[in-house]
Structures are given as C-alpha cells and as structure tokens.
C-alpha cells in the first residue's frame, strides 16, 4: 500500500518563492503546494487532503485499464452541424476550435481493453471539449461502445463528466439520451454489467440518462452531480441552496449512488465488483494501477 501512505515531503515556505509555476500546483482545497510530477503520480488527487482535481479523459484510461491494452473505437467520428446553428458564433467555428485543442476530436473517448485481465468496453467523457456537452457524436460513440459490449458480452464502463446538452445540436442532443438509454436497456436484458462512474461535474442530460443507469453507480468524492444546475434551481425557488447540495456525498445520502470511490482505489474496487457480477472468483490481491503507462 505504498502509494496510499507516501512519506510527506512538505515544501518549506522559503522554497516556494523560487519554484516556477509549471513545476508545482496549489491544491484548491487545502492550499498545499504540490509538485506537478507528484500530483500526476497520484492521479491528480491531493496527497495532503485527498481533494480530487480534474483528471483528463486519457488519465482515466491509464487509471482503469491494464497497461497497453487500450484499443480506441471510432476515433475519426466528428460532429456535423445538423441544424446549421449560429448563435453569437457559428457552431462550426466552435467545433473547429475545440477540435484543434483536442487529440480525440469530441467530448468522449471510447474503446476496449482489459482490467486485471477482464475484457471491458469503456467510454470516458472529456469535460475540456465544449464542457463535455452531449451531441450526436457523444451519443453515437457511446451507443456503439454499448453495442460492442453487447456483441462481446463484455462489461461496459462510462466515466461521466458533462455540463449537459450540446444546445447547438438542439433536439439531436436530447435524442442522444434516448439512444444511449435504449442501448443500456439491451445490455440490461442480456445481463451484461454496466458501471457508471460519475466525476465532477455530471449534470443535465447525462445525469438524466446513462450516468444514473449503472448496475453500480459510483462517484468520485466531492463531485457536483445533479439534473438541474444549481443556478437554475436557485433562480426557480428563489432561495439559497443548502450546504453540500448536489455533491457526491449528498447523492449517496439520498440513495442515488452505490458508493463514493477514491480515484486511487477505483480500479481494484471496480474489478472486485465486476468479478462479483461476472461470477468470477475473488481476486487474490488488488493489482494497483501504475501511472507510468
């Protein structure tokens, strides 16, 4: 369990001044100054207070899958502009800008790989791509990953991170909720496990579809999870929201989650659950994920 209790190497106040900004990061929760390299080794979880900072989508592939086992699906799928939509800017321009910044071209990466040798299909949403909003490509890639899971009879995992609908795709954005849920209905009937992993933030149409339909719903600590956004609710009820409203902990308390899982334990915990659902024997020991992939 070395990774769990690492010796403290606190920086002295005098050292901090001289550190270049790209080498360290400050924890937004406890204020601790952490070496970037060390933070990366710890999957962007603050070693001091356990605060979960955002992990890029590719990070989850390394976190969850066995090293080198990932094979990406539908990498070349890109959004069309089905409505010819223009608000203050044409949707095409917004897409082009987002695509330039992203190696994966859309707000979800899908593929297959193994987890401790168990074949799985995986989708990981990318919040940095237009707020992880769900348009046609997000729905299509996830639905295809689900159908491959059905064909291979392999468990499906989706790591959710989304601000909600891709408004620029209008009704097609809404229809992705129906599309993904229809695929999950088929997985459910075939008895193929589906694990939903909710990260910060998971809201709107994603919450009202695949994020809440897991055979197991897991969430990272402290994530914002809800159907309506907090500001919309505040404007509607004209009251302040209670402390901790719409956090992972709030959802667990209200019965919407099975567990809150520390990112650093996520792989062994999911493997344990999968082995139960797949009728496999208990693992002798939990293999630890290695970030050096």
């Amino acid at each position: 369990m070395a990774w769990f209790r690492k010796p403290k190497t606190r920086l002295q106040a005098t050292d901090r001044r001289d550190l270049p900004g790209d080498v360290w990061e400050k924890c937004p929760s406890c204020g601790e100054i952490i070496y970037r390299e060390k933070l990366k080794e710890n999957w962007n979880v603050c070693p001091e207070c356990g605060h979960h900072m955002r992990l890029p989508a590719t990070g989850y592939i390394g976190l969850l899958l066995d090293d080198g086992s990932f094979r990406e699906y539908d990498r070349a799928l890109r959004s069309g502009d089905p409505l010819g939509f223009t608000d203050l800017k044409p949707y095409r321009e917004r897409l082009a800008a987002a695509e330039r910044k992203s190696a994966h071209g859309e707000a979800v990466i899908t593929g297959e790989g193994t987890m401790d040798g168990i074949p799985v299909c995986l989708g990981v949403m990318d919040f940095s791509f237009i707020g992880g909003s769900m348009g046609s490509v997000v729905g299509e890639k996830l639905a295809r990953a689900g159908l491959r899971a059905l064909e291979k009879r392999a468990p499906l995992l989706i790591v959710c991170a989304s601000g909600g609908a891709r408004m620029m795709e209008g009704i097609f954005s809404l229809m992705q909720m129906a599309k993904t849920s229809a695929v999950l209905a088929q997985l459910a009937e075939e008895g193929i496990p589906y694990v939903a992993i909710l990260t910060d933030p998971t809201t709107g149409g994603v919450t009202a579809s695949y994020a809440m339909l897991g055979d197991v719903n897991l969430a990272e600590p402290g994530a914002l999870i809800g159907f309506a956004g907090p500001r919309v609710i505040e404007q509607t009820i004209k009251q302040e929201l209670p402390e901790g409203f719409q956090t992972s902990e709030f959802l667990l308390e209200h019965g919407m989650l099975d567990q809150i899982v520390d990112r650093r334990r996520m792989k062994p915990d999911i493997v344990q659950l999968l082995r139960h659902m797949l009728g496999l024997p208990a693992p002798d020991e939990f293999a630890l994920p290695s970030p050096a992939a």
Binding site: L77, I171, F172, L174, M177, F227, G229, I233
Partner: protein, 321 residues
C-alpha cells in the same frame, strides 16, 4: 367558459369574434335578422385566422403551444377517449398531480394514457406545478406503463411540460434517475407505444414520456432540448434573443418532421387547437387509431427492433479525413 385569453397576434381575430358576439346579442334582443352581416363577419374571421395561423413564426408557435386556452391532457381524455379511469400515485412517495394517467378507451379498445397536466388557474397550477413533474410523477408514469405492459395494452403518452421541475426536493429524490429509468424502460417495453407532443415538449422532462414507437406532434406544438428563453440566456447571453433561439433550435413540428425526429404531424384547426377543442381531439383520435393500427399487428421483437433502430439513427456525424 371563462374570458378567452388571446395572444398579441390574435388581437384582430379577437376583435372580430367580439363583433360577431355583439351582433348576435343585439339580434336576439331586438329580434333582427342579421344573417347576411354575420356571414360576412364570419368570412372575415376565417380569412384572418388563415392569414394569421398559416405562417406562424417559431416564437409565435411557442406562444400558441403555451396558450392558456389550449386543451390539456385531461381535456383530450374527455374528448378523444371514453371510459377514462384515473390511477394515482407512485406507491413510494406521493401522487404528483402534474402527471395524470389511467385506463381509457380509444374507439372501444383499452389503452393506457399518461400525460403531463397543466392547471387552468393559479390554484390548479399550484397543485399541478404548472405541468412540471417531480421524480414521483415520472415514477407514477413508469408504474402505469408497466401496468399496461402486464396486461398487453398499448401505451399513449401526451406530452405538455415546460420541463422537469428544478427544485431541492426533485434533486433529493433523484430527478435524473427517474427520467433516465423511464428512457430505458420505455425503450424496452413489449407493447406498442405512441407519444404525442400536444403543447410544450420541454427537454428531458418531456422525453421521459417520449421514447415511443411513434412520436407525433400537434401542428403548433414545440419540442426542444431547452426553452428558447434558456437557450438565449446561455448562448446569446441575453433573454431578449429568444426569437433567434426559437428559430435556430428548430423546434416546430414541421422542422422536426423534416429532421426525422418525429413521425407525423396532427393537424390543428385554422385558429389553433384552442379555437376548436372538439376538432383537435378528433384529429388526435384519428392519428392515434391509425398509428396504433399499424403497430399492434407487429410481433414484439419486430416492434422493439424497429424502435431501437429508430433511436440508433438519431443524430448527425461525419468521419474525419
């Protein structure tokens, strides 16, 4: 009937309607023959309605879809169906009056009908929460869908909601989970289903009753991922641009039929559904009978295969390079 509310662009229509009313009253009081004047006014009224309603802009359709005199679910249950028995409650928390449902007959055949229900006045709207369901409303709907499935009767849903309610209790009780579950369960139902957007189809709160073998819209209904006001506030950063948002999002029945998202449009009378409830209900009944007539002979597996294929095809994407 209470005083007839009218929309801004209906003012000219309302004025002629008032003239006709006054003329009739006067003729009755004084025993005069005004039939030729009446005929001419009625011709004028019909022409006005045609001109006004033939080319409604998207934002005008939003207003018609939200018209306070538009027929609601319970009105259609009286006019298009017979033998309605309302069933209440989700068996878990409470009865949500913003969704109504129960057994009814469509030309003699038992079907399950479920729909959102708005109120006609402030008191009823407080009870029905302006047609914005809480999770328990969606859970009641699911219970009734499962009941229909158990007894192998078709499902009809009537959709009319600004959206699922955004509130503290709704979040505490799992609004997202309730909607998500309905989407999955509706996709898997072993009975034929027809969903009709009768007024406002507001986002996930509408879709939670809207995954069906056939999706129809009344001619002046709207269906969108977010309200034009919400879209304008977020993308245009100004609530004043709702007209642009309504147009850009393609929310009318005609647009959505063109995009392949809905299967059929139910025609409304010239002055909109609110101008003639009976005629609208008749058109709805005819459409339901026709679509259910096509669906009920299909074997269950074929029905579900087609339903899944329909939703798999939704969206637009391309392959890079």
């Amino acid at each position: 009937m209470a005083t007839v509310a009218h929309l801004d662009f209906e003012r000219a229509i309302a004025e002629v309607e008032e003239q006709i009313g006054n003329l009739r009253d006067m003729a009755r009081e004084r025993g005069l023959d005004v039939s030729s004047e009446l005929r001419s006014l009625e011709r004028k009224l019909h022409g006005l309605k045609q001109d006004t309603f033939r080319n409604l802009s998207p934002i005008e359709r939003v207003q018609v879809a939200r018209h306070p005199r538009r027929p609601y679910t319970l009105d259609y249950l009286q006019l298009a169906f017979t033998d309605f028995v309302e069933l209440h409650g989700d068996r878990q928390f409470r009865d949500d009056a913003s969704i109504v449902g129960g057994w009814a007959r469509l030309e003699g055949e038992s079907v399950m009908v479920i729909g959102q229900q708005k109120g006609r006045d402030m008191k009823e709207n407080l009870n029905r929460n302006f047609g914005m369901p809480h999770p328990e409303g969606y859970r009641k709907a699911l219970r009734l869908m499962k009941l229909a499935e158990k007894f192998k009767r078709p499902l009809v849903t009537l959709i009319d909601t600004p959206g699922a309610y955004p509130g503290i209790g709704a979040e505490e009780r799992g609004q997202g989970e309730a909607i998500a579950r309905n989407l999955r369960e509706m996709a898997a139902l072993t009975i034929p289903s027809v969903a009709v957007i009768i007024g406002e189809g507001g986002s996930g709160g509408a879709l939670a009753l809207g995954v069906a073998d056939r999706v129809l819209m009344l001619e002046n209904g709207i269906y969108s991922v977010i309200s034009p006001e919400g879209c304008a506030a977020i993308l245009w950063k100004s609530g004043n641009e709702r007209e642009k948002a309504a147009t850009a999002m393609k929310i009318t029945a005609e647009d959505l039929k063109g995009l392949g998202v809905i299967d059929d449009i139910v025609p409304e009378p010239t002055g909109g559904a609110h101008s003639d409830w009976e005629e609208t209900a008749g058109a709805l009944r005819d459409a339901l009978v026709r679509h259910l007539g096509e669906l009920t002979p299909l074997p269950v597996e074929e029905l579900r295969r087609r339903r899944w294929a329909k939703y798999m095809a939704m969206g637009e994407w391309r392959t890079a390079r």
